[in-house]
Symmetry: C2
């Protein structure tokens, strides 16, 4: 999957990932009215509006970007109906040729991590195989150490799938633990070294491993440092746009060939219509709202290309 | 919920939590045949057998223990049907008066953690409130720092709910990061101090906060040390039984009144019939399999009481 992801980035000349993290307040009124009208004020109504919202955006951007990253929490809060919308979003994105990065940040002890590895490995029931979650990549939390990671590595040695392990997250308090000094360096560097090691035996044709790292756009200096420290580790970079990261900050996250990371934007792309005078606001906009997302993707591509 | 949990522990004189973490290999053949016969080799069949398995066990133990802890990964690997069985397990346990600890180990940036807080806070849709997950407590991962925790704290200040934050997990490689020395101490102590601070304003009538800590039974010396370091933090202790922890190791996890922690056992209780000659094996045992779980709970209660 890492080779396929990099091929797609080269083909689209765009390392942008669209974060499909809908909230009810982002949904245009025409779509809210339609779904609340049909299903009442229920989780099913929200699930249906998220799904339709995502489909409209995917239809507008699938030819411009290599991947999408739905954040499962946004769906999980609406229970089973929400999670159905998550799965159907993954499936729809995949049907359009996009790489699907499930932002699930799971992390647990060995036997439990094995159960979570079903997200990318699928699940066998008495010899029948089910690919229930439709994700190509997932994000993983390293706090439990290697035996919480090993079940995922086992999948990666066998299947064309991938993981991104949290190293340096984009949020304001991420340094509270990640920046603690330990053994002559910082916790995030210790995690980085583990991640590099975990990925050693799954390096593909472009020189990158199936075990990637999450490195926030909000820490430009650390991104540069980590790029050097882990030359075979591909980065998933959150924090661009709404969280404050800019293209100009990200040059050092890429390698000298201009690959090496994929940059996520969520609100900045999917809710772009709200800040674009061409499209009005949530009360007046129609199904054309997603064209604002296309414009935002093109602007972000340009911003990243300018940086390189 | 922390006061209610401690009241229940005192009432049952038992700090045992039953870990409801079923796997297909644990299910007695009579139940497998019934559900595969009815639903085919499908996720629905597995979901139905997990649910019936859990109900049988809950019926046998609900009067003996204060709480159950279903591990969501075991259900999540079977997709939406699996998660339905998870929710219905939580609901059934609650209907029997048990405290439900959802072992979900979620952890993310602020806006996403807010979505995950729906597990305990419920979800509002246009003024309608839905309690979709039926959990009283959830487990949380601290790697992202306080802004990934704050949305949960906001719920705890308002509602009778609780969280357990991972401090020192029970698995073999847990020390890979958690035992790293930093700033004159260890990472797990740094996390412990944060957890104590996060809990300061939700301390209940028994002197314990709604913000608890996960501390593995497999680290007895560290458990003693943490008990002293965080006197107002209640512990959820995994790793007893199948993972190697023994009652005798746990004395120091309790306070001088014999409270202060709740000890989980999963396989040792729910798959007890497999190791108990009174019940035969998975091929021959019938619905009485759950009586072995009752015996195992009584033996564990005794083991813990001997330690105190």
């Amino acid at each position: 999957m890492i080779d396929h992801l990099i091929d797609k980035i080269k083909e689209t000349k765009n390392p942008t990932v669209v974060g499909l993290d809908p909230t009810v307040v982002m949904i245009p009124d025409y779509l809210k009215k339609q779904m609340f009208g049909k299903y009442g004020k229920t989780p099913k109504a929200v699930a249906e509006m998220f799904l339709e919202f995502n489909r409209c955006i995917i239809d507008e951007v699938y030819d411009l970007v290599p991947a999408v990253k739905p954040q499962i929490a946004m769906y999980e809060m609406y229970g089973l109906e929400g999670l159905r919308a998550y799965m159907e979003t993954c499936e729809y994105a995949r049907s359009k040729g996009l790489v699907v990065i499930g932002d699930i940040k799971r992390g647990d002890i060995g036997s439990t991590a094995e159960a979570y590895s079903g997200h990318i490995a699928g699940t066998d029931i008495e010899g029948e195989h089910f690919d229930l979650w439709k994700e190509d990549y997932i994000t993983v939390n390293p706090y439990l150490g290697v035996d919480g990671i090993e079940p995922f590595l086992k999948v990666l040695r066998r299947d064309e799938k991938g993981i991104f392990v949290l190293v340096r997250t984009s949020n304001p308090s991420s340094g509270e633990l990640q920046d603690k000094r330990m053994e002559g360096t910082y916790l995030y560097n210790q995690v980085a070294d583990l991640v590099s090691k975990w990925g050693e035996d799954t390096i593909g044709k472009h020189g990158y491993s199936k075990v990637g790292a999450v490195v926030g756009a909000t820490h430009p200096a650390q991104g540069v440092e980590l790029r050097k420290r882990m030359p075979h580790t591909f980065f998933l970079v959150p924090g661009y746009g709404a969280q404050g990261g800019k293209g100009a900050d990200l040059k050092g996250f890429f390698d000298e060939d201009g690959v090496g990371c994929i940059v996520n934007s969520s609100r900045g792309i999917i809710a772009a219509y709200k800040k674009d005078p061409e499209f009005g606001d949530e009360k007046t906009v129609g199904a054309e709202f997603a064209k604002a997302s296309r414009k935002a993707v093109i602007a972000m591509k340009q911003d990243l290309q300018n940086a390189l």
